[in-house]
Assembly symmetry: C2
Homo-oligomer: 339 residues x 2
Amino acid sequence: MASKKPVAVMRDVAKLAGVSHQTVSRVLNEHPNVRQETRERVLEAMESLDYRRNLAARTLVTRQSHTLGIIGFETTLFGPASMLYGIEDAARTAGYLVSIAMVRNLDRRPVLEAVDRLRQHAVDGIIAIAPKPAVTNGLLQAPSDLYCVAVGGAGETEAVPTVRIDNATGARLATEHLLALGHSTVHHVAGPADWPEAQERIAGWRDALNRAGAVVPPIVPQSWNAESGYLQGQRLARDESVTAVFCANDRIALGVLRALHEAGRRVPEEVSVVGFDDMPDSGYFLPPLTTVRQDFAELGRRSLTLLLEHMAGPDDAESPAHVTVTPELIVRGSTAAPR
Amino acid sequence: MASKKPVAVMRDVAKLAGVSHQTVSRVLNEHPNVRQETRERVLEAMESLDYRRNLAARTLVTRQSHTLGIIGFETTLFGPASMLYGIEDAARTAGYLVSIAMVRNLDRRPVLEAVDRLRQHAVDGIIAIAPKPAVTNGLLQAPSDLYCVAVGGAGETEAVPTVRIDNATGARLATEHLLALGHSTVHHVAGPADWPEAQERIAGWRDALNRAGAVVPPIVPQSWNAESGYLQGQRLARDESVTAVFCANDRIALGVLRALHEAGRRVPEEVSVVGFDDMPDSGYFLPPLTTVRQDFAELGRRSLTLLLEHMAGPDDAESPAHVTVTPELIVRGSTAAPR
DNA sequence: TTCAGGAGTGTTACCGTTCCCAAACGCGGC
DNA sequence: GCCGCGTTTGGGAACGGTAACACTCCTGAA
């Protein structure tokens, strides 16, 4: 069964085409100084031998593996998974393969280990799906010959090139939408306190309230999941004055919706709810969720573009580049004017 | 900034330790015939030079890249993403890095291209997150020197080693749960007709109904998403005789729940609903969803184990191995006895 | 004392590319 | 006819490891 199918190497192609291995290499690398006729003969030989070049040998001498590394966290969730998808898609068309190194938690240690693992495999660059500062800190300790980009985390303060969503603007859009409907103020169920993205959303929300002269209700930052939204939703449901809730993401919103429903407060008639992310099925929540859409795949693609520029560019930029993607408000059935 | 930090190679370590490079190699590969004292000297030298071996060179000569390839489809969804996670986790502890090649659709052509891409990068084996037969067919055309495993697709009929969930049993569990509550029969909102997993769930559901002597309502296979569930849910909601619905996955169930709610049919008082998958927040649907849990991460881990066995094993097994994981019923608030 | 055999180490070849340099070739101008 | 120069080609030498083999000790049995 394990038939000997002798893999053709450059030498075989050269012999068949009647040239030297060096000429074959030139054809492969599209060197200009090869006679057209010779080139065709070589290409023919490669075709007939089903030749494919040995990437390991190539990597050994060029020090370029044509592989990119991704450091990922909680990639089972829709957001990170979509970014990964976007990155892979763009990487493929750019001729790169992507390797992934996942980290269990966002301490610096595991991140450094991940960088190390990727470096050992000679990746040409690294994209970190990096929601917390510890990750970028870890990245900074990476050997200087590695190009790194962080995606989906904090903003311009970082010393590493970043791609991120404009969380503050997104939060502002959501809050202003609710205020414009006539709500006197907007409550917020925040994400974890140590996540910059959560902080930025808080800032955008607060900013919108301040501009409108509305009171800023207290927040109790917790977690990103539905349970957290449910618990805080129960608290909000007891407060009759609450008519509008902006949730830090859709999962939290799902929990809030359930809490409100169980407390007998109707959405959107009595309370309006807005989420953040636009997960695949949030249009089928009860009621369909008004939310702020993040284009995760686009985020991923952008980060790849940035990485490639960074790798190609002659280091002219003194400060790292920062790309920001603007989110979009999707109005569905969970928001309405207060009674 | 781009400081010359000369990377240490084996020769440097050898010189510092006062041995030959071959001895260094032996230490690295844990050859038995190295004197303890020499070994320590070498390790010390490696430490002080921050030596790490060049994987490309190693790959070139051993033909083992210590990299595994994943072929993934729709990896933005929770299921595939979790499998990916499980695979990576297990691969890391086994000393492998994983590279991913995603396919846009499940035709044979893109799958072959993905295999090719991975092969070019000299992966030692491939795991395909492969829900449709076309993928395994593509895998079969892969060069014989590549070890492949398919996860999450069809069953024992495949000519490739597979890891899969026992969909029929899962569907049976769900259906029997509803019958045991006293429902006279159970309706089913199926997944796409060309997905083996959807077929297996249909078979399990039908089997349970037949055993109980219940009538088997017609099915209209469509898609895996909430929209599809919503559309079919509207149809079911109009039919007063429908008291129990088993959905092919949680997303479909979400759509069904919305349709029932909008039609004024209360869940679970009037209609019971069961899902499949146990997505992260299905416990916070309205009402919390009774569902069949798949342990996706476990599926991923198992597939890696199978692949490694397959790679190590001396090809003694004539027929490919098939591993089946049993799902578990999670009872929550969306099911109750009929009135 | 000799010799087999194994432990410990070094020497050399080789994996399949790319890079550096030199050689062969064609061609126009003096 | 010779020289200079650009194009095309080939012959080595890397790249950084591992494998095969040879060699030196050392031990224990004949």
